[in-house]
């Protein structure tokens, strides 16, 4: 019995190591608050650990963890509506902050400026999306998850995921000055 628990703990430890970065990144891009993202990431893994025994592997561990993270994030926003929301407002930054972390690569200074401007525009467009569209967009284009995985993580069916993604993409395209 103790040996089984030990094995489960080791397995879970490996899962944390493997997926912590991705869960944190998704929460960071969703909440735009570093401290909050760390807190929610910890909560996510604590919750996952408590329920690790009941995880049957019907979906991948990543999808399962992402589902927990999405629910935690939803709960946070729901609770925040009932509380004073100054704290999150004070620490949240705009999503276009991502442009500051864009690697320069082999681009010229001008190309880099252009790229930063585009990232800023995408960030602004993503901020303007509905919660569901944003989640689907971030899972697809930042976390590079398959539509099937996104459907499992969000609890939506694939058709709905596609529809949200299509609308989100249209809004981003519009922000970038393209046609719908």
């Amino acid at each position: 019995m103790a040996r089984a628990e030990e094995i489960a703990a080791e397995e879970f430890s490996a899962v944390v190591t493997e997926h912590r970065t991705q869960i944190f990144r998704f929460l960071l891009s969703s909440t735009r608050d570093v401290d909050l993202s760390e807190t929610l990431t910890q909560e996510c893994f604590m919750k996952a650990q408590r329920n690790w025994a009941s995880f049957r592997g019907e979906s991948s561990a990543m999808t399962w963890l992402m589902r927990i993270a999405i629910n935690l994030q939803k709960d946070h926003w729901r609770n925040r509506r009932l509380q004073f929301w100054r704290q999150t407002q004070a620490y949240a930054v705009n999503l276009d902050a991502a442009s500051e972390w864009l690697p320069s690569g082999e681009r010229s200074a001008e190309q880099q400026l252009l790229a930063k401007e585009r990232v800023r525009q995408v960030g602004q467009a993503v901020e303007g999306l509905s919660e569901r569209q944003r989640t689907v967009f971030l899972l697809r284009y930042v976390e590079e998850m398959e539509l099937r995985e996104i459907a499992q993580a969000t609890g939506l069916n694939e058709g709905t995921v596609k529809a949200h993604l299509s609308r989100a993409l249209a809004k981003v395209r519009e922000k970038l000055g393209g046609k719908r």
Partner: protein, 143 residues
């Protein structure tokens, strides 16, 4: 770059295939930016030590103020109630004293009246000490 290639290569993701190059690039750069931001945030120096005591102090201060308010409210209420009781007790004591004095006065008056009545009755029944002498004087005068 590999990220976008990966997304672009996926079959059945028509929304990616239909995008113009600029959108592809913008989304790829956005992903790289978010990844960089996230990595930087994860490897930043932690401020837990600095922020935790502040939160604890704020919590402690909140609790202290809350407790002070509750204690103040309760003791104020108790003091008010005590004052009311004390006032009622003093008023009751004063009223009792007045009643006692009034009863004393009444008793004294009754006693005086009783003594006066006794005096009157005695003076009517018992002849005055000078009465025989007065009668003798009256007789002498008549003789």
């Amino acid at each position: 770059m590999s990220g976008m290639d990966k997304a672009g290569d996926r079959s059945g993701v028509s929304e990616v295939a239909d995008k113009p190059d600029e959108l592809d690039e913008a989304i790829r750069d956005f992903r790289l930016g978010v990844h960089g931001w996230s990595e930087a945030a994860l490897s930043r120096p932690r401020t837990v030590v600095a922020s935790a005591p502040r939160r604890i102090w704020r919590l402690a201060l909140g609790w202290t103020l809350g407790c002070a308010l509750v204690v103040g409210g309760v003791s104020g209420g108790l003091y008010e109630q005590h004052q009311r009781r004390e006032t009622a007790r003093v008023v009751a004591a004063k009223a009792a004293e007045q009643q006692r004095l009034a009863a004393q006065e009444r008793a004294r008056q009754e006693e005086e009246e009783l003594l006066a009545k006794v005096d009157r009755d005695v003076s009517r029944e018992v002849p005055s000490a000078m009465e025989p002498l007065a009668r003798l004087m009256a007789e002498d005068e008549s003789q």
